[in-house]
């Protein structure tokens, strides 16, 4: 009979394969070291990440996903300047899997690096580790010429949730790149400040609908009377996706004063929007919207119908 249980081999024994002449054998050793889930394997994988064969290096970069901490992070950062793009891609992916804040020690010194790919990967890696020391470098990087780097930097700032970063986020919300603007607006969601509010409201006039959508969505988190006024205007956006987020946000803020503006939107032809309007009108439960809802109690669209009936029930329960 073959070995019954999966085995737990000695790490040193598994690592011997890394010295074999055949790259295939070295790849096998890397995979077995990864399967061990034993931190003693990290040092060996760190060695394999500078193997002569690109296939081995890539596998080592992937294998390090199984581990955490500064030693793992250092090995992955070293692979970000590999000659093979596949190795870099693997290392960048593994960096985003780090959880241990201490792993950030190995990334922080590289946040001023000139290599764009490396910098993007380092920001992506440090983001979830929430290291406050990364703030300065992230703010500096908002001026970087590469949009990917700027998005990464905004991500880091957003996760740190520091009111001190608001001016930087406001600048990022005016970035030339659509995705930087979107990300920056979403990142403002932690703040209840007038600063954040003003930036988000201004963004409702952005030329890109994706940016306006992000602003309309995030305004619900910031709250406040000015937000309601701005969102009521956004109900007339030319993109239904933006209108839908405005409706939802007004619903979340329970802005009953907007109910009679939302109610006529039930007559529009866009199913997703009508469904959302009905749900929000139910949450608001304003009796004056009843006639608008009643028209659609037997709507052919079942989601609209269901939400309309639910909404009418909510109004009745008042």
């Amino acid at each position: 009979m073959n070995a019954l249980f999966e085995d737990f081999d000695e790490i040193a024994e598994l690592a011997e394969g890394l010295d074999d002449a055949s790259p295939g054998t070295r790849i096998m050793a890397v995979m077995e070291l990864a399967n061990s889930a034993d931190p003693a394997a990290i040092a060996h994988l760190a060695r394999a990440i500078s193997d002569a064969d690109a296939g081995v290096r890539k596998q080592a970069a992937l294998a390090l996903t199984a581990f955490d901490g500064p030693e793992t992070a250092a090995a992955l950062v070293s692979a970000l300047t590999d000659s093979d793009p596949a190795v870099i891609e693997a290392a960048a992916l593994s960096l985003t899997e780090l959880k241990d804040p201490e792993a950030g020690d190995a990334i922080l010194p590289h946040l001023g690096d000139t290599d764009t790919v490396k910098l993007t990967a380092c920001f992506a890696g440090i983001k979830e580790l929430r290291r406050t020391e990364a703030m300065g470098a992230a703010i500096t990087a908002l001026k970087h010429e590469d949009a990917g780097v700027r998005i990464g930097a905004v991500g880091v700032i957003g996760w740190l949730q520091d009111e001190g970063s608001l001016p930087a986020l406001r600048d990022a919300a005016k970035d030339v790149d659509t995705n930087v603007r979107r990300t920056a607006l979403a990142a403002l969601g932690f703040s209840k400040s007038e600063h954040a509010e003003a930036t988000l409201i201004a963004a409702l006039n952005d030329p890109e609908w994706l940016v306006r959508e992000a602003a309309a969505e995030t305004l619900a988190k910031v709250g406040g009377a000015k937000c309601v006024t701005a969102l009521r205007i956004a109900l007339e956006d030319e993109f239904w996706q933006v209108r839908l987020k405005a409706v939802r946000s007004l619903g979340k803020m329970n802005a009953v004063e907007a109910a009679l503006e939302i109610a006529p939107m039930m007559d529009l032809l866009i199913p997703n929007l009508r469904k959302e309007c009905a749900a929000v009108l139910g949450e608001m439960a304003a009796p004056e919207t009843r006639p608008y809802l009643e028209k659609y109690v037997d709507d052919t669209d079942p989601d609209v119908r269901k939400n309309v009936r639910w909404a009418l029930g909510k109004i009745d329960a008042q």
Partner: protein
């Protein structure tokens, strides 16, 4: 009563040039939930390459995703593709 030899086209294809079964790799065979892959052995019993032995594929992809050298391709079974 002999059983018939009916031919079938199998969905999982291995690039022999990339496969490192000869180095002892059995990753694709190990991860297949339906256990349909096997290693072809040479005349001396040594491993040569992987292949799909049984046409019982859920086209789920671990064999392709986990292969360290990109030697495995999962196609959809003809009957449903």
């Amino acid at each position: 009563m002999p059983l018939a030899q009916t031919s079938t086209i199998v969905p999982v294809v291995i690039d022999d040039a990339l496969c490192i079964a000869d180095k002892g790799c059995t990753v694709c065979v190990d991860v297949c939930p339906l256990d349909v892959l096997r290693i072809v052995e040479g005349p001396d019993g040594s491993p040569v390459t992987a292949h799909m032995k049984y046409d019982e594929c859920w086209y789920c992809m671990p064999c392709e995703a986990d292969c360290p050298t990109g030697a495995v391709t999962v196609n959809l079974p003809f009957l449903l593709k």
